[in-house]
């Protein structure tokens, strides 16, 4: 714990993703921290999670996640704690709350609709008799013969 606070106070030059001094001694807690970090967005970066990010803010968030975990929070509690402070924007995996159900349901709904339409189409194709393919014209026949000779 002391190390964490100490690390929080240190201001390093460009840091590189997860630093050795951030890693928790307890491997179970650490792996939980890594999993949580992968779902949280580095707020100042472009589409990067805090686990991969080099930014100072990402480091602060990583340390915060670890601090909450060592304090005995569950994974959900840690995420809620951070969402309460930084807003929904921090979640890389959006919730299904509110209008977000559209986002989650879009794929399945399209698939079912498509399957329905495809089924109707195939049924109709099955029902129609095979149409006679048009005979080739004389010009086309001559051209075909020319190609086949090649």
């Amino acid at each position: 714990m002391k190390r964490l606070i100490l690390a929080l106070c240190l201001i390093a030059a460009p840091v590189l993703a997860v630093q050795p001094d951030e890693i928790l001694d307890d491997p179970v807690l650490e792996s939980r921290a890594r999993e949580i970090s992968k779902e949280l967005r580095c707020l100042v970066c472009r589409n990067e999670n805090i686990d991969d990010s080099n930014a100072e803010l990402a480091r602060d968030l990583r340390l915060l996640v670890r601090e909450r975990l060592t304090a005995g929070d569950s994974d959900v509690e840690v995420v809620n704690y951070i969402v309460d402070r930084y807003g929904e924007y921090v979640l890389l995996n959006p919730t299904a709350r509110g209008a977000n159900w559209v986002l989650w349901a879009a794929g399945p709904i399209m698939l079912i609709t498509g399957l329905g339409l495809g089924f109707i189409y195939l049924r109709r194709r099955q029902a129609t008799p095979e149409q006679k393919i048009e005979e080739l014209s004389d010009v086309e026949k001559a051209r075909l013969a020319e190609i086949m000779d090649d």
Partner: protein
């Protein structure tokens, strides 16, 4: 002077494009051969003029002409030559110039290779292609002119973003654009066919090589980009579901769908109106991709609002072309009657399933990409949609696709029996399942991603092998394989390539190992059974950067394997640090080492990764592109396109 000539050539190209977009169209409608014939020389002139303009800009970059604003912002006299050249398209204005260059190249090649096309169709295709050109020439000339001069030229430039100074990224944009813009040919053919009111097997055969070529380039382009991200960004990620990546991935998915549906048009004269719609949508998503990348709207709505000129222009282009094409489609699609009848179980219906899954997958990517924008504009919620969402929402469709692919690929046309086809494929299925069970037993307790991916990948690879093997006939003559049409080889190679990529992705994601620690010089440490020793860390100077370079010895069981040099670079002009990972590449695994910051106790932060099957991801992409090229070189397309030429040259066709 050369710069001004380049600028002038671009304006001329714009005017030529205006002529090419109108005169042949009227000619085709009125059946005036003279007016239709304008298209061909115009396409050539347009290509030459744009080519000259591009060459002029390249000249300015190569000679470091700092009186040109674009060169000042994106180049530096000390930069290596390769990156001076790649700097031409490493920025907005230059990349748009490359965009129109490729657009005019495709237009010109349609004029060169379109000898067998009916004259009205050819005139219309070239006119539509040129109409797209008109829009983008106007975009460049009015909003993004690369040829603007500086009033007071500085002594030196501001350098190109160091992340872009890399061979992988030097060639990534040209390939990507060849793919993006190549889809414009499919679009032009679709719109021309709608105007013509006729889609038949011949149309399918003409449009397929263009789609195939575009798709090959897109595959290579995406592969290069992903490979670059893997070794350059410093932690070995290969795909981030970034809006910019998605922008290239959606057209790729739709191009795959289009490739397959145009087979049905070509062979069975069915799925015509769907294929037309796909051709329109595939290019539509290229335009959407261009809009996303070029307007900055996805990164931040506010960035877009501050400088909306470019974004609004591309949006208008998108609206005109998509709106126009879709209205034309609505009016004419009913005229495309299908000819072939087929039963519920047949190659045709398998391809319908393929198209459905790919289209839905592209739709999911699309919704996920624009959802943050929709949520902010419509619901006033600021939220993110990142990799975890896409992994969860997109992957199931690829799993389904992988499951049905080997069966669908072997079903006969018209009427088929599932059980008979599956019986042939039984060995592949059993083998793949056995491999997956083995992996599951060995890994014990890890995620199911590895075994499932292993099953799908090997099911695809073995399935493709059986598909080829079944073509030897009952007599099992190997010689027959060599005489198979190239397209059949292409199909199997590309499908197996997809399997290999799936294997690579799932293997890497499931079995990767990581180690982060402080290392003292000379102190050995281990990752996944490999021993690493940090020998020394020294300061090195590069052509336009300073580097902290480490020397790391890699060995296994006491046997040395290689020496790695991970670096941290600092580009003083651009004021940006980059990490250069050192990778010991292998067939089954990569060892990936990154050097971090010096620690107070004299040690160094070192991150090392064991990345199983990493190279398979790009190996698979190469195979897919190779499969596409085999198909493209199939004699049937050459016969359709230029049989007369081969005879005239006196070269045997095969």
């Amino acid at each position: 002077m050369i710069t001004e000539l380049g600028h002038f050539a671009l304006i001329l190209a714009f005017l030529v494009a205006c002529i090419q977009a109108t005169v042949p169209l009227i000619g085709a409608h009125m059946r005036w051969p003279g007016w239709m014939a304008v298209a061909e020389p115009a396409a050539n002139a347009q290509f030459l003029l744009t080519g000259f303009s591009f060459a002029a800009l390249t000249h300015a970059f190569v000679t470091s002409d700092f009186s040109l604003r674009l060169v000042v912002l994106n180049s530096h006299s000390l930069k290596p030559m390769l990156y001076k050249i790649s700097g031409v398209w490493g920025n907005h204005e230059g990349s748009m110039l490359l965009w129109v260059l490729i657009l005019s190249l495709f237009g010109a090649s349609a004029a060169w290779f379109g000898g067998a096309l009916p004259p009205t169709l050819k005139a219309r295709v070239l006119a539509v292609q040129s109409a797209i050109g008109v829009a983008f020439y106007a975009f460049i000339l009015f909003t993004s002119n690369p040829f603007l001069r500086m009033a007071v030229p500085p002594f030196d430039g501001e350098d190109l973003n160091p992340l872009l100074q890399d061979p992988g990224l030097a060639f990534h944009p040209p390939f990507l654009y060849l793919g993006y813009v190549g889809l414009s040919m499919a679009f032009s053919f679709a719109v021309a066919a709608l105007i013509e009111g006729r889609v038949d097997a011949a149309w399918g055969r003409w449009v397929r090589p263009w789609t195939l070529a575009a798709w090959i380039f897109l595959t290579i382009g995406i592969g290069l980009g992903s490979w670059w991200a893997y070794y350059e960004l410093g932690w070995g990620g290969f795909w981030f579901w970034d809006p910019v990546e998605n922008a290239s991935f959606m057209p790729w998915l739709l191009a795959v769908a289009l490739l397959h549906s145009s087979i049905v048009v070509e062979k069975r004269e069915s799925l015509k109106s769907w294929t037309i719609l796909l051709a329109i949508m595939a290019f539509g998503f290229s335009l959407i991709g261009t809009f996303i990348v070029r307007s900055g709207v996805i990164t931040s709505v506010h960035a877009f609002a501050n400088d909306p000129e470019r974004g609004v222009f591309i949006l208008a282009i998108l609206a005109v072309f998509m709106g126009g094409a879709l209205m034309l489609y609505a009016a004419r699609a009913s005229a495309m009657e299908a000819k072939g009848a087929f039963s519920m179980v047949s190659r045709e219906s398998a391809l319908v399933v393929n198209n459905l899954l790919l289209a839905v997958a592209a739709f999911v990517v699309f919704v996920g990409t624009i959802w943050p924008l929709v949520a902010e504009l419509a619901f006033d919620r600021k939220l993110s949609v990142g990799a975890p969402f896409f992994n969860m929402a997109f992957t199931p469709f690829m799993v389904m696709l992988g499951l049905v692919l080997p069966v669908g690929a072997m079903l006969p046309w018209k009427r088929a029996s599932l059980s008979r086809t599956f019986k042939v494929l039984m060995p592949a299925f059993v083998l793949a399942l056995a491999l997956a069970c083995l992996a599951w037993a060995i890994q014990s307790g890890r995620s199911m991603l590895g075994p499932v991916g292993l099953f799908l990948g090997s099911w695809l690879i073995f399935g493709s092998a059986i598909d080829l093997w079944s073509r030897t006939g009952r007599s099992r003559q190997i010689g027959r394989l060599m005489r198979l049409p190239r397209a059949d080889w292409g199909k199997s190679v590309a499908h197996a390539g997809l399997g290999i990529t799936m294997l690579g992705i799932s293997g890497l994601m499931a079995w990767e190992a990581e180690d982060i620690r402080v290392v003292q010089i000379g102190e050995p440490f281990e990752i996944a059974g490999y021993t690493l020793i940090l020998d020394k860390v020294e300061n090195v100077q590069g052509p336009n950067y300073f580097s902290t370079m480490a020397t790391v010895r890699l060995s296994k069981d006491g046997k040395p394997i290689s020496t790695l040099h991970p670096e941290k670079r600092n580009y003083p002009v651009a004021k940006m640090p980059t990490t250069e990972a050192a990778i010991d590449g292998g067939f089954l695994r990569d060892i990936y080492v990154v050097i971090g910051d010096p620690q107070d106790d004299g040690g160094w932060a070192v991150r090392s990764y064991f990345k199983p099957l990493a190279n398979w991801i790009w190996g698979g992409a190469i195979l897919m592109a190779l499969g596409g090229s085999l198909s493209l070189s199939d004699r049937r397309y050459r016969v359709a396109a230029g049989a007369r030429k081969t005879r005239a040259a006196g070269v045997p066709a095969e």
